[in-house]
Assembly symmetry: D2
Homo-oligomer: 242 residues x 4
């Protein structure tokens, strides 16, 4: 039996890294990121006894994604199986008056994340079908946000990409669920606790979402058997109003 | 006081034509369509004493939309006001297994409707602001579908575009509502009664949505004062399960 | 052909009165209220040339509702038809810490509106079936609120009754829609402009929902043919955040 | 430090028992049921080395619930803390034409589950506040169903109770979340695999929800820290259409 792998697209600091570390406790992980160096994360995982490789990938490009899959097969064998694929590529967040947005601002922030989600799903799903070869049902998870459920003033492009990814997740869940693939969508509603958000909401303790618990939640989703799939859950600090 | 106009993008048979005829009872209408000839509809409206012009436009192209607005200003004056703008451009509907969709199928069906909605909103909203010059609050309506609320197997691209347009509608409603513009989204859940759908559900009387009543509903939305805006409504035949 | 009537439960000042006046332009109206005197409204409607009777009714009591229907039949004939029935009985709104609520506070505010909705629907639906006898499909409308969609701190009982009434509306729409009855739910999201709310939001013009436009919206719902039923719409001032 | 307990209302076969067994691995559990004998379950848990007591309780009666809390305090000390409280009392499911439902059918099936949820939450929340005394944030979970989100023909009473309990869950989450209590709602969408449902969907393997995985999911919710609360998740077999 071939050891299955996990693939994380958008393996930046915060959620991506935490998810990578969590899944590396069970699987060799493949980390994809466009611009960020993945070396530190790879070393960190290896230092903990895990196995990781980083592949610079532009998921918004079909050819880049294809060559990434080629590299994965070169590395893990042509018959590599994917136990979990996590799409965590951030949609560009810009709050800007709608009439001041250029077509590039708008479509430029929206289209890549949508295209990326499409390419990522198309590249990984074929390696997930034939579920009986892995311990847990193969799992495809999309990271969502508050704006997955609700538009916002000045947030058209961001909300559109987030709504669209939720639509993709729901559609794939309905198509691939009956084939044993678990497709799920996580609504991350609140500020994630990262280096960058250190200064936000300092005064209220524990008011930012812990990336490790996003990771734990994704891992939990992954372990659910096909009798009992969760297709959507929210994650929100206790102090968040919503 | 300048007489305001109504603009209908996607003035094809069915909903688009019906909406055009309805708004033509109150305003000169500008009909936009990419490929369809608009002549018959223009003549029909003129024959009923209305005023209509058709402008072949590719709303998915910024430059095409810009030149359309130029033509509109040439026709109605540089200070033309838009009383109502209806975005009724169909998202390409294809039910196809996800893994058989090419990147062109997918992004090719999704991106245009999203881009079109963006260009259309950006071109028309500036002509709507300054609400006090029209009898009813200027109104921007997007036509949605069942798939605006719910993904479906084999329907990823379609659902993504529909979810995204709903996100746009919600975001613009929150941004432009306080400026007096009424932005609304209509969920058309069922088969629309057109020439093309003649053969469907023949046996159950009245089981298809009447385009004229879509038009009446849009007109009703348009007449609501700013004290009482409806931002979303569904339209569904009595016999529809949902 | 028997002239059909409209019945409005919760015909207090604000929405109820406005709806009564609107439907009285087309139908004799029967006004139900528990405690309020209905005389002034009845006289007002008669003064405008309409026909109205008020029947003091406790809709939360089965026997009170039964005797009301008896009175209606005595008045309009045993074969009276109902063109429109509007359930506008307010759920008791109390914002109070959950642990300070007595069982009476809680169940006492929740159960009556639920029970009332049940009795009202059960009493009126039989007089609506056989839709072909009225000009428009017979229509049963429930008035909802922000809390129909979203719970709130300190608002458990209110939100529960509002969620429950929405569930009733959806269930009846699915059961009676195919029989030609139009069941609809209106989400009134904002402060309604009444005598009592005069002092709220004074500074922002038009920031309260106009009851007359709630009435117009209900009337519009009523006129929709069975090809094109709206089952839910929201009503919200342009200045409302949501 | 006092050892906290878990309380499960509706500890019948299926979900209730599975949840009881799962939480008994960490806490002494108190099982509440109105009519069912709890002896077998208590013995089963004790046989696995856990600690359990059963208290016959009618949660729909305030006095019964009060005396239950008295018994709990007599047993575990007046300063007993509740780590987790699970409200799993079934709403009476009856699919019956609306007009054939008696007031007793209707309010009789609806009111008890709502009242029960109120009494249960009121009795347990005071024993949860002061969250710092337990390892995980104290957790109050309500079991929901498909009908928590969507009404159905002939299902008015059931849907109303399920919508209402969801409203309660959301309202309590917003009120008690900031005080460190995790309130969550689980939408169980599908047939649960129990003795009673043995004959359903036999031909499709794994097509019923495994109660043990409902239990695992509730346990997972319980372990989430206050930085990262999930307030709603669904559970659904891979083969379910939705």
């Amino acid at each position: 039996m071939v050891k299955p792998i996990a693939i994380i697209a958008g393996a930046g600091p915060g959620t991506g890294s935490a998810v990578a570390r969590r899944f590396a406790r069970a699987y060799p992980v493949v980390l994809l990121a466009r611009s960020q160096s993945l070396d530190a994360l790879v070393q960190d995982i290896q230092g903990r006894g895990g196995s990781a490789i980083g592949i610079p990938t532009d998921v918004t490009s079909a050819s880049s994604m294809t060559s990434t899959i080629d590299q994965i097969k070169a590395n893990f064998g042509a018959d590599v199986r994917v136990a979990a694929a996590i799409y965590n590529v951030a949609s560009k967040f810009t709050r800007k008056p709608f009439l001041e947005q250029s077509s590039e601002d708008f479509v430029g922030s929206l289209a890549p994340s949508i295209r990326g989600a499409f390419h990522f799903a198309q590249a990984t799903l074929p390696l997930m079908l034939g579920a009986d070869q892995t311990q847990y049902p193969p799992t495809l998870i999309f990271t969502g946000a508050t704006a997955s459920l609700k538009g916002g003033s000045g947030l058209s492009g961001f909300a559109m990409s987030k709504f669209a990814i939720r639509a993709l997740s729901q559609s794939l869940a309905r198509e691939f669920g009956p084939q044993g693939v678990h497709v799920s969508h996580a609504i991350i509603d609140g500020i994630i606790d990262t280096e960058k958000t250190k200064e936000y909401s300092r005064e209220v303790p524990d008011s930012k979402i812990d990336p490790q618990w996003i990771a734990e939640s994704y891992w939990f989703l992954h372990t659910q058997p096909r009798t009992s799939f969760t297709h959507e859950l929210d994650l929100r600090p206790y102090s968040e109003t919503w």
